[in-house]
Amino acid sequence: MTALGKIFRTTAFKLALAFLALSAAGAGLVLSIVGMEVFTLVDEESKQTIAAEADGLAEQYAQGGIRRLGYVIEQRTREPGSSIYLLTNYAGETLAGNIERLPPGVLDKPGFIETPYETADDSTLDRRALARIFVLPGGFRLLVGHDLRDRARIAHVMVRALEISLVCLAALGALGALFVARRVLRRIDAMSNASRAIMAGDLTERLPVSGSGDELDRLAENLNDMLARIGELMVGLREVSDNIAHDLRTPLTRLRNHAEAALRLEGDARAYRAALERTIEESDGLIRVFNALLMIARAESGADRSALSDFDVGEAAHGVVELYEPAAEEAGAKLKADIEPGLIVRGNRELLGQSIANLLDNALKYGAPAPILALAPPTAPSEEARPAAPTTEVELVVRRAGEMVEIVVADHGPGIDPADRARVFERFVRLEGARSRPGSGLGLSLAAAVAHLHGGAVRLEDNQPGLRVVISLPARPAALGEPLEKAPAANAAALS
């Protein structure tokens, strides 16, 4: 497609064309109105002239009858001007005047008439005149008229003016269209080139923004934001797949090794059995990691956002505490819960429950105080005596904090160094000292993803000593206690 052909297809060109047509029509309309007005004015003037001439002739007629009238007319026709006269007798023969010929029947018409006529010296030109016929006694008829040359000239001028203005408008319109089309086209071309590059795989490329803040800029900015988001997701995806490849390789290798070792066994059914059981255990572990990864991915992508419902956070947390409480006690830990009832959150109870479970699990695993303070009484009714081990205390608090609901899981363990706090949210990140224990390094990642899904966040704080994990989620208006006093619309907007 040629550049010109492209211009003809652009919206800008079509707009310019429409603009041109409209302004041409407008110019035509204005000129015709002016022309009509001028015509009326000229006609009016002609009529007045005719009336004045007729008055003068009537005076002459009153003084000297038809002879004098003829004489005066003869005199007047010799004077230059655009007046025309014709005096005829009852037989229609010309007595005086400067008209050679008239269309038949004109002399019988009453009032002002417009008629073509011919003069003696010019019988070819089709002249026109405005005239009035007076009938005199004795069958004489007098025509007094005014040539319409002036009017024709004005009409001619008008038409010329229209032609010239149309040409000028067309030229201007075409120029404007060309300018707009090329300007817009160039930017759109730049945008489509950039998007083609992006499609070809360079996600770091951005659409050009001219800085004028017009609609094209806004479009480009929005598309750029979208690209940034896609880029983030892509990076996340790449990280996940890299991590999966890396972290599933280890258990997969173990799995394979167990199977191979089992194949090398000679005959002992019990050993086979044990090997198979270990294999199943390993694969269960793999499935677990896989499920956790999927869950995180789903929460991060917001795919479950449509399936959210209102639920009581306290109730959900209480269920998890109840679930973990005996296990905690068994492990020699104390699980304390301080739950404010009636806090409603819109979200996914299942995912939130899983997040709380992960945090409790972490706290129970890593939240034991440093064994220096081994003086605490062994209160846990544990079956295996743990004489020197101090009691692990884990606290779960659900409370309201302004317009947020906070779920706090706190322990008195070694905590997490501030330098490591951002890192632990990454998938599969496990700090030194945790690697030897079972776990996938996905618990905090899931908690963060789930909080994000709910429009909230997770932060890590120092519990002095220990770690305090705070999930804060936006509360539903009902959870604020005074749903009627607060402006419901504002709340809904802020929380939706």
């Binding site: 677990r288 499920n291 479950d304 399936a307 998890v320 679930l323 006690e329 299942e350 479970a357």
Partner: protein
């Protein structure tokens, strides 16, 4: 364990063959359909105690098949098998008329326990018992009282529900996830041995001072409450 007729609708022939074989090994009769339409026809002819339906099937997908069966008043309990293990998929499956939902990959012991539990639900018209009895253990669902040998055993509400669920499925294996689902209404994987601790606490209350033990651990599968004398 009485023999059941089980219909497996699954397009993966390997997986289906494995299931058929595994169900036969434990004494059930299993039929197999590889696509939705065949499965629908088989299920409509009836006579199955449980149907195990994969969600993604050729010719007619699992959820449509279940919807069609339910529309035809076929009330065979249906367990949905799916590679989609997310919460909303489960909800969709149950809303379509499925009775239980199990995400792939699964342990056969889990599937077997769930199929057993579903089949037990069968007699719909029968009024629910208000008192469960196993040997000298009694659970009154109305007064929330548990006695063994006439001695009242005080239980926490959650322990009561745990025991109630176990006794409802007396003689059947109940898996940890089944317990988590029905007693705590959570479908996630608790990772640690939390359920085991609950069971051992319950066991300490109902079995420790009595004989014979009723609450048994089924290795690699879950738990079962049954009268050990029989």
């Amino acid at each position: 364990m009485s023999s059941m007729r089980i219909l497996i609708i699954e397009d993966d022939r390997d997986a289906a063959a494995y299931l058929v074989k595994a169900f036969r090994e434990v004494g059930h009769v299993a039929d197999h359909a590889t696509d939705g339409l065949t499965g629908y026809d088989l299920a409509r002819e009836g006579g199955y105690d449980v149907a195990v339906v994969d969600r993604m099937l050729p010719k007619m997908d699992g959820l449509s098949l279940i919807g069609a069966l339910r529309a035809q008043n076929v009330d065979t309990p249906i367990l949905i098998l799916s590679a989609l293990g997310q919460v909303d998929d489960r909800v969709k499956g149950l809303r379509a008329g499925g009775d239980d939902y199990l995400a792939k990959p699964y342990a056969f012991s889990e599937l077997l326990a769930r199929v057993d539990a579903l089949a037990r639900r069968r007699p719909k018209g029968a009024s629910e018992e208000t008192v469960y009895r196993i040997a000298d253990l009694e659970l009154d669902r109305l007064s929330h009282k548990v006695t063994r040998g006439g001695v009242e055993i005080p239980l926490q509400p959650r322990e009561f529900r745990l025991l109630e669920y176990l006794m409802q499925h007396a003689g059947k294996v109940v898996t940890r996830t089944m317990l988590l689902e029905s007693v705590w209404d959570y479908h996630f994987d608790p990772q640690t041995n939390v359920i085991d601790v609950h069971i051992s606490r319950l066991r300490a209350k109902i079995d420790k001072d009595f004989d014979p033990p009723l609450l048994h651990t089924v290795r690699g599968a879950g738990y079962m409450i049954r009268d050990g004398a029989r």
